[in-house]
Symmetry: C2
Subunit: 427 residues, 2 copies
Amino acid sequence: MYLRKKNKISIIGLGYVGLPLAIEFNKYHNVIGYDINQQRIFDLNNFLDINNEMRSINIKKAIRNNLIFTNDESKISNSSIYIITVPTPIYKNKKPNLTAIKNSTKLVGNLLEKNNIVIYESTVYPGLIEEICVPILRKQSGLKYNLDFFCGYSPERINPGDTNHSLKNIVKITSGSNSFIASKIDKLYKKIIKAGTYKASSIKVAEAAKVIENTQRDINIAFMNELAKIFYKLNIDSNEVFKAANTKWNFLNFKPGLVGGHCIGVDPYYLTFQAKKVGFNPDIILSGRKVNDSMGIYLVQKLISEMKKRKITLVKSRILIMGLTFKENCSDIRNSKIFDVISKLIKLNCKVELFDPLISKNFLIKKYSRYLIKFPKLNSYNVILIAVSHSVFIKLGKKKIISFGKKNVIIFDLKNIFKNEKLFINF
Amino acid sequence: MYLRKKNKISIIGLGYVGLPLAIEFNKYHNVIGYDINQQRIFDLNNFLDINNEMRSINIKKAIRNNLIFTNDESKISNSSIYIITVPTPIYKNKKPNLTAIKNSTKLVGNLLEKNNIVIYESTVYPGLIEEICVPILRKQSGLKYNLDFFCGYSPERINPGDTNHSLKNIVKITSGSNSFIASKIDKLYKKIIKAGTYKASSIKVAEAAKVIENTQRDINIAFMNELAKIFYKLNIDSNEVFKAANTKWNFLNFKPGLVGGHCIGVDPYYLTFQAKKVGFNPDIILSGRKVNDSMGIYLVQKLISEMKKRKITLVKSRILIMGLTFKENCSDIRNSKIFDVISKLIKLNCKVELFDPLISKNFLIKKYSRYLIKFPKLNSYNVILIAVSHSVFIKLGKKKIISFGKKNVIIFDLKNIFKNEKLFINF
């Protein structure tokens, strides 16, 4: 059934990046989607994407059109092209955790045949593919790089929860291990990317371009966070300040906030890792990271001082947290910084309740899942903390949310979803 | 001749900010423009703005329409409104130099009468006007703040050399010491600002908004500078990387470069000064400043290493610097960082020549003016460093500029004005 076909593409890793890629490429190629997560394969074969990125109907259509989801390694052999879209997270010590990218590279290396192309989409640091992955591919396959097999890098620019900027609608960078392969890879992606592609001059340049995109965002939010902290100390309403500054034509409308997720809070560490390796200390990027990582604790401090002002006792106070994901309208809780806040509040003996209709109990570890509620109670909370701007929260409306609170309730609207509501406290 | 009139406005400081303001307000009010610089008053009375911001014809027109330029203090007495637009620079130790704002406040304080309004336009730190200026006004005048006299802050957003964003076309923040005065000041500015005004909720908020605008720009350029340094160490062409990253819809197209001038390189220190006073260390802003202040030295290092590569001896090498101003198409050399480069090159015994048709010898201190040339010689230089993207340089063209160089010339095009010219080195 899985005969050797021209341009059979295997996609390793079926998360946010791999799944839409598999579905798009399947329109033009014989595509096998591989993931080591059995549950994920089971779900996909039942037309379910728990990330809510792809609709059931589209998964169904793709499967009818011969897209195969599997965790059987043997099924991805005999491909012409392997695309690796596995996560590249960091360890607790902030160093790159290359386990997934190394393991999937080994897997592909074992299957590699002459003239195969291996394309990476994962975020890496500049140099990683040719310094770390290529040697593994060479060793496992016994083949020669840029003679027998080739590589490419086309960084993913998926924006979870953003339907305007889907795979097809975002210009995609491509690159290859030589100019011929670069053109071939560029042509490959051009077919599926409506917005067009941009052929970078080398894999290294493409790697560097990807990692600075999220780092720039990280720095800009970190700057707003630093300002929020300064203005809090100076007793100035930072939201008022940002509103005024935003009337300048070139002021960038970033907002202070918790920076979580698997990209913005992670990617900068890949770049700083490589910079440090060559003896350069990236002060700005690292101070940005430090500030962003500190915002959970800052928030708890601000919350406590607001409670003191209104003479609400901290211990046993009832606190409702609305929204646990790292971003609005998605179910992704990876590195969500709200857990720093929750964890601290639990330690302080507050009675927290967690409300997020986009996630289910089994998404959470026990430490937190026991606090998850189906729906908030009326007249119950001393503090309500709206942490994420899920559409469902906006739809609930101000009045309803206020009705969850006790008479003297303090409401934090971290994302300022209820604009100009003076009663609500922003970041 | 200078009778007490309703709404006589005196403007203290006739630089980039005060001059256009005087000319605009003069269309509706009786305006006196005051400056302590005698030469400036002489020039203006001869229709000359050496900053090239205002055209002669417009200055002439304004004078015919009764605008008075003077350095005679007595002439600004009996005003209803004083607008202070003096510079707020920093000392060498980076601390705010408040001499000009304090002196002009004293001057106004001595003349202050009941119901007068004093409006500041200078960049300050949040709190400065009410902590530093108001006490001076009170002391000098013996009047009571917010009873006998009032204050306001309407930060300047002048963009030297940018004709699209002139005074009239930039939304202007206004604020006042109480809500009645805030409205009055807002109405005053509304008359002259086509783009409209934005009434901030307090003087402090307006002060804070102003100082973060340029600080945000500073941080973003600093980030690009940090990246340029990292990629140089990693032997990656940073320009290629930025071009690729710019294909993402939300990547911010900042460029690495020398950050000089009297705003971007200065304003952040006002904010950090006030933050430190309340015990907060603004790491991000300060690391940004540190990186930006280091770029002159970085550039010299890069230049030396390029010369080594091409086996050009440093000592007695002839180096042409094109552009000395802190910004294109203006004659402003305040805090221009190119002088860090020039000074270092002179110390290294290079033979530098400085070419900038927008400035004349008397703009420069002797240390530098002796190297200023009228026009570069042909076939003469080992290195050409285009530091500013003056239109005249773009008009000169690539060929002409190359013709100034010796056979093996190294050309640095810091502003990348000759795009995609692979022979030229960027930042």
